[in-house]
């Protein structure tokens, strides 16, 4: 089926070339980072994780979000989603690839990555995160590929896939839960130390993932002869609506606990992000923009009139995707490190090369995603003749 990714029109090749150029630029910046070290980023002794890890965290969510089409179809026999499950699985594959790459570019000694497997450390959450992420990647490759191939050949997929499909559902939940455990189990980091972090991550994941999927469906309908379907998009939109509401609700729970208890260790981080602390407030406009975007998303997806209008829905999905990205991909990590354990404030601003590398990773993911979607759509077109 891979050959299907190579047969495309001018627009397809143009888009792929564009992505490849960005990947290339990112790679050049990465060569510089390999040579100099992580000093070319904005990271510091106090804020030792930043843009890479934040994007990683956000994308784990997008990957987990793919399960929102798999679950209703396979568990509840919601037939309409049969058309789009493959898109969910392929979205998961490309997102996990981005996640793994973000981890790789974040390492100080990437050539030692195999140490994680040579000296497995069951007590480390990062060890488990590696396991669940790679597991999820392989599950989705195996399932997605075989199911699509079966569809192409006009036969039912192999029986042995069924247990894997069922396993992939809780597995999707696990990848984001374990990712949250990376942060929420650390003593002395008040911002992350909350039992609601994993649920919050999942809620924003189930909003951001399907939101991106809706946008992809709308694009696919435009550029191909395959229509993912109005009902499918509307059902996804309802999932997004619930998930984004729950995400904001969880955040409100967090804010209540922190500001009613008034424990400084927990308050200071949220203060830093939303109103600034001791004169430092680089993230303030971003965090408020995130809140506004998510609220706009709620209004537009909950209200049936706006949700049913696909143009407005697209705007809502962009707002939700951006809003959750700022929340998780920008504030979540830097906010947890500021102020530092010694209560000092050293603001973290991602550097230009750092953003370049991150864009390169995103472009790589979208390149893979486009190729995979191209294959899926071509098969669908073929089958429907």
């Amino acid at each position: 089926m891979l050959e299907l990714a190579l047969k495309g029109g001018k627009k397809y090749y143009g888009w792929m070339t564009f992505l490849m150029v960005i990947v290339g630029i990112g790679f050049l910046f990465y060569l510089r980072q390999l040579d100099f070290g992580l000093g070319i980023t904005g990271l510091s002794r106090d804020v030792s994780w930043g843009f890479y890890i934040a994007n990683f965290t956000f994308l784990v969510g997008v990957a987990a979000g793919g399960v929102m089409v798999v679950l209703p179809y396979y568990l509840h026999d919601y037939k309409a989603f049969g058309k789009v499950t493959i898109l969910g699985e392929f979205l998961a594959i490309s997102s996990v690839l981005m996640c793994v790459t973000f981890i790789l570019v974040d390492l100080g000694q990437p050539m030692r990555i195999m140490n994680v497997f040579l000296y497995p450390t069951p007590g480390s959450v990062l060890f488990w995160d590696t396991i669940v992420l790679n597991g999820y990647l392989f599950l989705n490759i195996i399932i997605g590929w075989n199911v699509l191939e079966a569809e192409r050949n006009g036969v039912h997929y192999q029986k042995w896939l069924k247990p894997l499909i069922y396993i992939s559902i809780p597995w999707a939940v696990s990848i984001h839960t374990v990712t949250a455990y990376l942060y929420c189990g650390l003593p002395g980091r008040g911002f992350w130390m909350t039992a609601i972090l994993a649920p919050r991550f999942l809620a924003s994941a189930f909003a951001a993932g399907p939101a991106l999927l809706i946008l992809c469906c709308l694009i696919i309908r435009r550029v191909s002869n395959f229509d993912p379907g109005r009902e499918q998009i509307q059902s996804l939109a309802k999932i997004v609506a619930y998930a984004i509401c729950i995400n904001v609700f969880f955040f409100v729970c967090e804010v209540f606990v922190v500001f009613y208890s008034q424990i400084p260790e927990h308050m200071d981080h949220i203060k830093y992000l939303f109103v600034g602390l001791h004169g430092h407030g680089a993230y303030v406009p971003w965090m408020w923009a995130s809140m506004i975007l998510m609220l706009v998303g709620i209004i537009l997806t909950v209200n049936p009139i706006t949700r049913k209008n696909e143009g407005v829905l697209a705007v809502a999905c962009v707002a939700i995707f951006l809003g959750t990205w700022i929340d998780k991909g920008l504030g979540m990590i830097a906010g947890g490190f500021t102020p530092s354990p010694l209560h000092e404030i050293n603001e973290y601003i991602p550097s230009l090369p750092e953003i370049g590398i991150a864009l390169g990773v995103w472009a790589m993911g979208f390149l893979v995603m486009t190729a995979l979607f191209k294959i899926a759509v071509s098969v669908k077109e073929e089958v429907r003749g």
């Binding site: 030792s48 140490n115 209560h343």
Partner: protein, 262 residues
């Protein structure tokens, strides 16, 4: 796909699985093995031994930053700690800070004047229950069974910096660039580091091994005491018994081994 190709792929898959499972089994089997390897490691005759090394810092004996400087200087000199101008890339094993930075959450609104102005020496606490060791995905940082030192293997560290996020004391530094050009005079007795790895205070394990006290203790003119926390006759226990001491962020349960007399 013809059947022979499928067969080869299956074989490849099975062998890959077999190769990857071995280290996992090893990890779980490690606990029994650990005792043997420990016994095989030969201690020098002169080496100082303890169940858990600990430090008591008599902060009353430090009046200004200048009093701390020689301690940090000798430490950083013998351990090849680079001097980097860029504050973001700074590497430090031991340094002085204010009371409210060393003990955030413990600083009252109004403080005794001398405490407010006194510098507090901070370093790795060599916790009895270290969160950094829990976090490390490769065991590059580990707690030595023999003497409780939280140690680092610079050659195994992959530079993921999970330990830095896990440490509630900000004790760890990362080599954001090649540190070697920034080392004043390289001490050939101690390894230099490369870019991309984490480092921190090692309680001068290399000195203890040859019967010497940590360099900062030696340079402190008696302001710092060092000894076995579990030996009731040790100097640190004597000081803890006779003085009121506090530890940093004790409520977190990491059980720091550095005690402060205020």
């Amino acid at each position: 796909m013809d059947s022979s190709r499928r067969r080869v792929l299956q074989l490849l898959g099975v062998s890959a699985l077999a190769l990857t499972t071995k280290p996992v089994f090893n990890a779980f089997a490690k606990q029994e093995q650990a005792a043997e390897t420990e016994a095989a490691f030969k201690d020098g005759k002169k080496s100082l031994k303890a169940k858990q090394w600990a430090m008591v810092i008599d902060t009353r004996k430090f009046e200004s930053e200048a009093d701390l400087e020689p301690l940090a200087e000798v430490c950083h000199k013998i351990h090849n700690v680079p001097h980097l101008q860029n504050k973001r890339h700074e590497i430090k094993w031991i340094w002085g800070t204010h009371y409210h930075n060393a003990f955030p959450g413990k600083a009252a609104r109004f403080l005794q004047e001398s405490v407010e102005h006194r510098p507090f020496l901070v370093l790795c606490n060599h916790c009895e229950n270290p969160p950094c060791v829990r976090a490390c995905p490769t065991n590059a940082t580990f707690k030595r069974d023999a003497d409780g030192i939280v140690f680092m293997d610079f050659h195994r560290c992959i530079g993921c910096r999970f330990c830095m996020a896990a440490c509630p004391f900000g004790a760890r530094s990362f080599n954001y660039r090649d540190p070697r050009p920034f080392i004043g005079e390289t001490n050939k007795e101690f390894p230099t580091r490369m870019k991309g790895v984490v480092e921190k205070c090692n309680f001068c394990a290399e000195r203890l091994a040859v019967g010497q006290l940590p360099a900062c203790v030696e340079a402190s003119n008696g302001a710092l005491a060092f000894g076995d926390l579990y030996d009731p006759a040790s100097e640190v226990r004597k000081l803890i018994r006779t003085n009121y001491t506090i530890r940093r962020k004790q409520t977190l349960g990491t059980e720091p081994s550095v005690y402060y007399i205020v």
